[in-house]
Amino acid sequence: MNELNEERAAARDATNWAKAVSRLDVSEMPEEAVNLVSGKRLAGPIQGFGKMWQKTYQAALPREAVSPQDLISTWKQDFPSFWPDGNRFYAPLTGIEPGEVALINARVPGSSMTLSTGVMVLYADEESFTLMTPQGHMFAGWITFSATERDGETVAQAQVLMRASDPIFELGLMLGGHAQEDQLWNTTLTNLARHFDVDVDVDTAVVCVDKKRQWSRWTNVAQSTAIWSTVYTLGTPFRAVRRWAGRVRHG
């Protein structure tokens, strides 16, 4: 590689990838955002328990409605606004930038339970960005959002590469979790397209990359957000009493 190309590559490396971290650190967030992510390690598809899945969701918009670069820019800037109701994505104040950590408080359909987790921005450039999951998240893996031009259209894509983190979530996937995941990204892409005044049909392609479960990873359950979110929720009254006692003590 000549010197100019080396400089360009180094610049891309420096700006597009997150810096190395051993454990996640969450910057300032709204008070209502539940943070069970600080101190956790990242977890990729290799660290998960369940079968490995690659799921690709695509929506095609007319090129004249939006360019791929503008679509990605909008998606990054307004990412939480395209999520379905009932799920909160607390983006970092600096936005979708490599290394930043976002919190997710997701409602479990059919219940009053909220799962508190998050993601880290692993990679971001003008055409795509990738979010990677922490330990305890429902899935171990990453999701890449991208936009490309194809046959005169701007194709928006969300592609997930993941395993369920632990046996609880693997069972959950088998009992309707896959359909919920599909619905989440179907709704997100539909909302994104509507932002540009376009109605779309979302195409979904699912590939089971690895049919084997990694049984030795059953111990991931110790980090499960299903368990720790429940513990957090059960502790709500005690935290309220502690805050009240603190106010009384300090007048």
Partner: protein, 116 residues
């Protein structure tokens, strides 16, 4: 998305195959990488040479995961050498290094693979 610009050249070395990677590895490299994998033959180890790598984005890392799954299915070890400090950190960040061992040289990788 960036068009495929990476090349993957395979050469045999005893019980291992070395895959020389050049260019930009992105999701668009999938067909070329998998074609190279089909050429590695019945070996016990696949050694990835990243010395000629110009750039890799997150799509490229995802390809390495699927390559790893295919190699594991055939009980093949996956090793790497030639990574820059930056990409060693990316392997650590994505925890890919827990499944793909990283070495300082081709000879070290081949030795670790038992193919020297």
């Amino acid at each position: 998305m960036t068009e495929a610009t990476a090349t993957f050249d395979v050469r045999r070395h005893g019980r291992a195959s070395v895959v020389d990677i050049r260019g930009d590895v992105t999701a668009a490299s999938e067909d070329v990488l998998m074609a190279a994998y089909n050429d590695v033959g019945d070996v016990s180890a696949i050694v990835l040479n990243f010395a000629g790598l110009d750039y890799m984005n997150s799509g490229g890392i995802g390809l390495l995961v699927t390559l790893l799954v295919r190699a594991n299915r055939r009980s093949q070890q996956l090793l790497a050498f030639g990574l820059s400090d930056h990409y060693r950190q990316i392997f650590e960040l994505t925890r890919l290094d827990e499944a793909v061992s990283i070495h300082d040289s081709e000879s070290a990788a081949l030795s670790a693979a038992g193919a020297d």
